[in-house]
Amino acid sequence: MNRIDHRQQPVILGTGILPIGQHWEISLRQLGGRAVRMALQDAGNPKPDAIYIGNGLGTILSHQANLGALIPEFAGYPGIESCTFEAAGASGAAAFQAACFAVESGYVDVAVALGVEKITECEDRAAEAAMNLALNYEFESSQGSTVKTEAALIAQRYLYEWHLNREIFQRVALNSYQNARENPNAFARNIDEKTYQKQPLISAPLGLYDIAVQNDGAAAIVLTREELVPAEERDRLIRVSGSGNAVASLALHDRHDLLYWSAVAQSAAAALRQADLKLSDIDTFEIWDGTVMDVILSLESIGICQEGKGWQIDSLPLNVTGGCLGRGNPLGASGMYQIAEIARFLQTQKSKDRIHRNALIQAIGGYGATAITHILRS
C-alpha cells in the first residue's frame, strides 16, 4: 500500500512505558491499564476512541481471554472499542499496526496501542510451555522441541555452514546489554564481558545470556493522524511512515532456506517502500533479539549485513535502548516497547543534533515466522 496523503499519516502523540520486571503486586489488567493512562497523560490527555491490545499469553498464563472488554475499564475508559491482536512475539507490533490503520483511514481520530504481558505469575515451566505455543504444536513441540531449541538448531547450522564458533555471539549480546545500562525501564543492566563469558550453555551453542529473559511488562502509544495536530506543533512529531507484515512457514522444517528469514526480508522491504526510504537512509535499527541468533539472521535477511557476517555489527546503531536481551522480554509487549522506546530516542535526538532521524523497528513472532516492521521518522 502506498501512502496517498501525508496529512493522513499516523503520528505519535505520547508513550507510556512501565519498567520490565516481576510485577507480582499487580495483575495483567492493571499493568495494561497503567501503561494506557501513562501514554495518554504523556499525550496531553486526548480522549481515546479505541484501544488495540497486543498480548501473546494472557489466555494461558492469566487464564484470561477477551482483554478488550477488560483493560479499557481499568484504564478508565469503559465501553470504548477494544480487542486483542495475537502474533506471539509480534503481538505488540500487530496492535500498533492496527492502531495506525485505524487513525490513518479516518476510522477513529485517537487510538491507543497497548502491548501487555504477564509472565512471572506462574512457575518457570508453565511460562516456558506457554512460550512454546508459538511453535508448530503437532510437529515441533509434540517432539519435545522448545523455542530455545529451535534457536539452537538454527545457530548450530549457522556455525557449521560458515565455519564459525560460538564466540561470534558475544559482540551481538553485549551490544544489547551495554545499551540497556542507560535504560531505566530495562531489566538486565549488569551483564558485562566477564559475566557473559561465564554463562552456562542452555541448548548448545546458545548460552543463558544469548536468550532474552521472560518478564512482565506493558507499554502503550497514543496515535492520531497528522492533520488533527495543530500546525505549530507538527515539527516535534514522530511520524509512522511505513509498516509491513509478512509471514513464513510456522515450522522451521517447512522452510526452504533455514538461514534466510523471508518474512523478515519481506516485511522490512514493504515498510521501506511505503516510507519511500532506502536501507541506507536508516540511521537506527531496532532488530528483534529474542536470541542473539535472531539478530544475526535478521541483519542478513534484511540486507544490512552480508550473509555469514550478521554478527559483525561494530559500527551499526543497533538496539540502542537494549533490545529484548537487555530490556527483558515481555513477549506480546516487546513489540510495543521497541516502538515506544525508539520514539522517545528519536525525540531526544531531535532536540540534540538530529543525527538519528529514521528508525527501522522490527518485531518477530515465533522463530522467524511472523515479522512486523515499522519505520519511524522524526
Partner: protein
C-alpha cells in the same frame, strides 16, 4: 490426552506417511491439502523410507512438561533422503557424538507421557544412528 488428535496423526507418527504431489511430484511431510511447491491440491499418500541425515542438532537440558523423564535429550532437524526436513529427537546414541551429516534412520519410541494423569503414553518417530554399509 487429546485422543482425536493423536488418532489423526498416527500414520505420520508411526509410519512417516506424507504425500507425493500428483502435479509436481514433490515429496511432502507432514501431509497437507495444498502442495507447498506448486500450490495445487496434494492428496496422494507416500511412505518415506525413514532414512536421512542430521541437518542440525542441539541438546535440551530443561525439558518441557511431559518430557522431563528423558532429559537431557537431543533434538535434531533430520533431512530425509526424499527431501523434506523433520524435527525429531535422536535416540539410541549410546554415547556416540552427533555431527551434522550423520546418517540416521527412523524408529518408533515413546514420545511423552500425559503428565501422570491417566498413565497414557504417546508413541511416535525418533531417529537413531544408521549403520553404513
Amino acid at each position: 490426552m487429546e485422543s482425536p488428535r493423536h488418532w489423526r496423526l498416527k500414520k505420520q507418527r508411526y509410519a512417516l506417511i506424507g504425500e507425493e504431489c500428483p502435479h509436481c511430484k514433490a515429496k511432502i511431510f507432514p501431509p497437507r491439502d495444498v502442495c507447498p511447491e506448486c500450490g495445487l491440491e496434494a492428496k496422494t499418500a507416500y511412505q518415506f523410507s525413514g532414512k536421512g541425515k542430521v541437518y542440525s542438532y542441539t541438546t535440551i537440558n530443561e525439558a518441557p512438561s511431559g518430557f522431563q523423564d528423558m532429559s537431557p535429550y537431543a533434538i535434531a532437524l533430520v533431512k530425509l533422503e526424499e527431501g523434506p526436513i523433520v524435527t525429531a529427537q535422536l535416540t539410541d546414541l549410546g554415547g556416540e557424538s552427533i555431527w551434522v551429516g550423520m546418517p540416521v534412520e527412523m524408529v518408533t519410541r515413546k514420545l511423552r507421557n500425559d503428565g501422570d494423569e491417566r498413565g497414557v503414553i504417546l508413541y511416535g518417530y525418533k531417529f537413531r544412528p544408521a549403520f553404513q554399509a
